[in-house]
């Protein structure tokens, strides 16, 4: 069948670096922009819309547009952390559909590894934050916040560390084929649960890598997509939501995907059963588990059973996920993993994933981003993508 869509992903690029000691952040933005434009067969002069988030230095997109010599008439600098770039895909569709721009460039770059960021640190988003005084003194490092969600999920639903470990095991099976992945060794459930405890119940191997790098997307209108050719991927649906602590009515067993997912599925006119491949934000194993439940791939609370026994491994299970190794094994540029989720979903729909992990007849894919923090406030974004003949 041929599904209608208002915009296409025409170009993607993932930076091969994982430690960028010799490059600046603006330089990385420009390198990924060039890579995605080349992938689309376009040039920077074709770009009339620019999308970036808080990783781009300067005020909104102003400094990066200047650095890269872009002449743009539309900009969107929505920052929802790691999900920003999934949000940008949806916003680009809307801008293109409204005729506000025709070629949208989205860039992400970061070098936390070169700058010595660790998972133990407490991130500070600025002193004017109203919530800061009620959280920062208690030592909310990223890991222990996700750990608190995992602990509650285990308590309510009986989820086990072994089940969570299967998510890492699946990611490692995929990463062994990715020459750029930081962690290429295939691991077992035992390896994960026997790795050092970081913050109960999350072990070291439940956590994503810290990496430098970045990525870019080029999103175009249907007319330009025709000239680019059949490597273009259809953007069929998008949804986004913010979830927070709800005035103190806290529930850490679900994510904002519970809202962004149904919106995206309705927008695309498809259901979870139609999806051939998923890219799920994987800052930690628990992030994937809760998100899969919230997106409707299994019942709430049954995520542990769903991910077990290799169900997420391409060629083995029913729902292949993160076939590049994801944030758990491949990379997590700038601690913002949404971009690479869209990139690998695009590779799958083009049939350009590594042959060992390529999903046969991959027609419909879902990419989901989670930004901010699962145990405080998060920006969730879901896109549903289709192959050129979807």
């Amino acid at each position: 069948m041929s599904r209608a869509c208002q915009a296409y992903i025409a170009g993607v690029y993932e930076h091969p670096t994982r430690k960028a000691v010799d490059k600046t952040i603006p330089q990385l933005h420009a390198e990924v922009a060039l890579g995605a434009l080349r992938d689309a067969g376009l040039t920077k002069d074709d770009v009339d819309g620019y999308f970036c988030a808080g990783d781009a230095p300067g005020l909104g997109g102003l400094s990066m547009a200047e650095y890269m010599g872009l002449d743009v008439i539309y900009t969107d600098t929505t920052d929802t952390g790691g999900s920003s770039y999934v949000v940008h895909v949806g916003h680009a569709v809307e801008a293109i559909a409204a005729g506000r721009c025709s070629v949208a460039l989205v860039t992400l770059a970061g070098r936390p590894r070169a700058e010595g960021v660790t998972t133990l640190g407490v991130r500070d988003y600025g002193g004017a934050l109203p919530d800061l005084g009620f959280e920062k003194p208690y030592g909310p490092a990223i890991t222990n916040l996700y750990a608190m969600a995992a602990m509650r999920h285990m308590h309510e639903f009986g989820t086990t560390s072994e089940q969570l470990a299967w998510i890492k095991v699946a990611a490692s099976h995929h990463a062994q084929h990715n020459e750029h992945a930081m962690l290429r060794d295939v691991v077992t459930v035992d390896d994960v649960v026997n790795s050092p405890m970081i913050a109960d119940p999350l072990h070291r191997l439940d956590c994503c890598v810290i990496s430098d790098g970045g990525g870019a997307l080029v999103i175009v209108n249907p007319e330009i997509a025709k000239t680019v050719g059949d490597r273009c991927v259809k953007i069929l649906g998008r949804g986004e939501a913010i979830k927070h602590l709800n005035a103190g009515q806290v529930d850490l067993t679900f994510t904002g995907a519970a809202k962004s997912g149904p919106i995206a599925f309705a927008n695309a006119g498809v259901t979870p059963a139609d999806i051939d491949y998923v890219s799920i934000y994987d800052s930690f194993t628990i992030t994937v588990l809760e998100t899969l439940e919230d997106l409707g791939f299994c019942e709430k609370g049954r995520g542990g059973t769903f991910v077990a026994d290799g169900n997420l491994i391409s060629g083995v299970g029913k729902l292949p996920f993160n076939s590049d190794g994801g944030g758990l094994c491949n990379n997590h540029p700038g601690n913002r993993g949404g971009m690479t989720k869209v990139i690998e979903a695009t590779r799958q729909l083009r049939g350009e994933a590594h042959p060992a992990v390529q999903v046969a007849d991959c027609t419909l894919a879902l990419a989901h981003g989670t930004g901010g923090n699962i145990a405080t406030r998060m920006g969730s974004a879901t896109v549903i993508l289709g192959s050129n003949d979807a």
């Binding site: 133990l120 002193g127 004017a128 934050l129 109203p130 919530d131 800061l132 005084g133 009620f134 959280e135 920062k136 003194p137 208690y138 030592g139 909310p140 490092a141 890991t143 222990n144 916040l145 750990a147 608190m148 969600a149 602990m151 509650r152 308590h155 050092p196 405890m197 970081i198 913050a199 109960d200 119940p201 999350l202 602590l245 005035a247 103190g248 009515q249 806290v250 850490l252 145990a375 405080t376």
Partner: protein, 132 residues
Amino acid sequence: MTRIERSYPEPSINLETERYWQAAKDGVLLLKKCNDCGKTHFYPRAICPHCLGGDTEWYEASGRGRIYTYSVMRRAATPYAIAYVTLDEGVTMMTNIVECDLDGIEIGQEVEVTFRATEGDQALPVFRPVSS
């Protein structure tokens, strides 16, 4: 039991929250409720997040609650337990669990507020298990 605790960073305090932190120095945990909709919210604000009403009022919390969830930060220089505690008043707040065996903390455990001096001159509400 005694255990070495980490030092507690200063909270950031603003016009909306200075009374909360002043009370903490006096060993009192304050909450805010809204006189328009009657509901309590956390963290405390001048404007009620339930209804956006501007008539919010401080009141003293019971200081009792139960652990909603927690995690022990094993890799920190001094391991500590971060937690969310659901107060008897119905709101859940981030905190630390202190004066206990870090390996013995449980979800649902009954806790009560106590206070710790911060690195500056403030006081921070934390919770300890209620001794049976």
